[in-house]
């Protein structure tokens, strides 16, 4: 049985850019433990001679001619969906250094 501790949940949340409150950490630790215990049955299957499937219909490469098509969507419309200020056609984010 896989057991996820509160410390592990905090670590995963940090990697995923999520903040999880103390009371929620316990809840998620319990739930994730139950989920991974359920998932663990996959280890019963002998797959030593089996290739992994990533693309189920067998598509290998989807190539096209290298021709530039003008986008039907204009820059202003795309920038317009941002909740942040737009300065000189760029999105102004909070500083990375505080």
């Amino acid at each position: 049985m896989t057991t996820l501790s509160a410390t592990q949940v905090r670590h995963i949340a940090k990697l995923a850019r999520l903040e999880i409150g103390d009371e929620e950490v316990e809840k998620y630790a319990k739930e994730l433990t139950a989920i991974f215990t359920y998932i663990e049955q996959l280890s019963e299957v002998d797959t030593s001679k089996v290739q992994a499937t990533a693309q189920v219909t067998g598509t290998v490469n989807a190539l096209r001619e290298d021709i530039i098509h003008p986008s039907p969507i204009d820059r202003e419309a795309l920038l317009g969906t941002s909740p942040l200020p737009i300065v000189d056609d760029q999105i102004e984010t909070p500083s990375a250094h505080g």
Partner: protein
């Protein structure tokens, strides 16, 4: 009530000018306004634009395309230019995300003359099997409003069942079209992976997501699929495989069709009425001239554990784009960029989305990748091989959709594994990338306090085999009356 018409019925009346497209749209609007308060299927109403488009169609005259002048509802993850699309998540709802472009599917429907009249409720970013994780609250089942409509395309299935529209769009990653269709007594089709374009549809798990229709009968499904299927240069995973004339093969003879019944879908403790529905369906097929074959798909039980590794892993990557930069939730006075990311995501995402992001982040993290992700992808190969072998012996496979009829709202609260087990008959097709139909297959017997509830029947085919799946579905539908039953609202 005009909104209760099927697409083919409405098209005939539109062509003969017995009704106008505006009247048809207005009938759907009236229906939504009178009953949706108790269902919560429609979360954005796009009525004015739909009426304006209908007027345009009426002025020009309806075309010969059967969808010309037909109103529909789209799940709240299909982008339509200028129309709020939120995936029923607070991360996109608080600053209404209005996409500046159309999804390929809604664009193709628009070109055919169909008009979207609104957005339907879904589990947040389609993560759920009950529409309960929506930031707008659950959709109620039209057959019993104390129960769920299923999910994640619960709003689309309930909307079609309650005649709020003529058809609806859904998506099926792990059963999200088939399960709600089964719970609500409507027909829904999961397409072969790559048969329909995913462009402009918010992704959950990109290697598993499919787009498909929910409608009142099989012929309508065939019409919609015909319109939306096919290669799209904007989605490199769409297959360059010719799209057959789906309607033309519906009425073919069933004689000699080989129908497989997989023993792994009849599990201990399953609902007796569900089992009985599938066994009686087999007899219907036999009476129509098909031959029945007992088959085995040995890796069936591993499909759901596989799904709950692969899907959350792709979720953890796909959800990374919701960082509050290009779109999304706004926060006050962030300390720095990291604080901005963390607060936007922690405030914006609901608990099932967070749960799946964390499952995926853990499964993909250093030291665990081989045990979870790679092992799941290898088991996926075995599930695919089971299907490939089976479809050498049979033409279609029939199975239940869900282990039980619709459950009560809140029944699985606090127990994510119980919710995930709702998918056990719906994940093998996902792993194999095959098409699967969910259609009305019977009703449970009413008991004290529990009305008769719909039971779905599932029909699957080999990859790119939508034609034969619809053909078998049509034959079953014509031989039965289940699809004609409507909920009393």
């Amino acid at each position: 009530m005009l909104s209760s018409l099927s697409i083919t019925e409405a098209h005939e009346q539109l062509k003969k000018k017995q009704i106008s497209s505006r009247e048809l749209v207005q009938s759907c609007i009236d229906r939504i306004e009178s009953i949706d308060k108790s269902l919560n299927a429609v979360i954005f109403r796009n009525f004015e634009r739909a009426l304006a488009e209908a007027k345009k169609i009426d002025d020009q005259g309806v075309s010969d395309h059967p969808l010309s002048g037909i109103p529909y509802l789209a799940k709240d993850i299909f982008c339509e230019a200028g129309i709020p699309t939120s995936a029923c998540s607070n991360i996109l709802r608080t600053k209404d995300y209005k996409p500046p472009f159309d999804s390929t599917t809604t664009a193709r429907l628009k070109a055919a003359g169909a008009m979207s009249i609104g957005k339907t409720n879904t589990d947040e970013f389609t993560m759920g099997a009950s529409t309960e994780t929506s930031c707008y609250g659950p959709t109620r089942n039209p057959w019993d409003i104390t129960r769920v409509a299923g999910g994640s395309s619960g709003g689309s299935a309930a909307g079609v069942a309650a005649d709020e529209c003529l058809f609806a769009l859904g998506t099926d990653t792990g059963g999200s079209i088939r399960q709600p269709a089964g719970f609500c007594n409507v027909t829904g089709l999961r397409t072969t992976y790559g048969r329909t374009s995913r462009y402009g549809v918010m992704s959950m798990a990109s290697s598993l997501d499919t787009i498909g229709p929910i409608a009142k009968n099989i012929e309508d499904l065939a019409i919609i699929l015909q319109t939306i299927a096919g290669k799209d240069p904007l989605d490199g995973t769409t297959g360059d495989i010719p799209v057959p004339d789906y309607r033309a093969s519906l009425k073919k003879d069933m004689k000699g069709m080989r129908v497989g019944i997989p023993k792994e879908y009849f599990i201990e403790g399953m609902n007796a009425e569900v089992e009985e529905a599938v066994r009686s369906a087999a007899k219907v097929f036999q009476n129509l001239g098909a031959t029945l074959h007992d088959i085995s798909l040995p890796h069936t039980k591993y499909a759901t554990p596989c799904y709950y590794v692969l899907c959350p892993s792709e979720v953890s990557s796909n959800m990374a784009r919701y960082d509050g930069i290009r779109f999304g939730h706004q926060i006050e006075n962030p300390k720095d960029l990291l604080d901005h990311y963390i607060r936007v995501r922690s405030e914006g995402f609901g608990s099932e989305v967070k749960r799946r992001i964390m499952i995926g982040t853990y499964a993909l993290s250093a030291g665990y990748y081989d045990a979870y992700y790679r092992q799941a992808q290898r088991v996926r190969t075995l599930i695919l091989q089971d299907c490939t072998e089976a479809f050498q012996k049979v033409d279609v496979i029939i199975a239940p959709v869900s282990p039980t009829p619709a459950f009560k709202v809140g029944a699985h609260e606090g127990d994510p594994v119980a919710m995930y087990l709702e998918d056990i008959f719906l994940d093998p097709q996902v792993m194999a990338g095959i098409p699967a139909l969910s259609l009305p297959g019977g009703f449970s017997r009413p008991q004290a306090g529990v009305p008769a509830l719909p039971i779905g029947l599932q029909i699957m085919g080999a990859q790119w085999g939508e034609e034969i799946v619809l053909h078998a579905g049509y034959a079953y539908e014509q031989a039965t009356e289940w699809h004609k039953k409507k909920p009393r609202l």
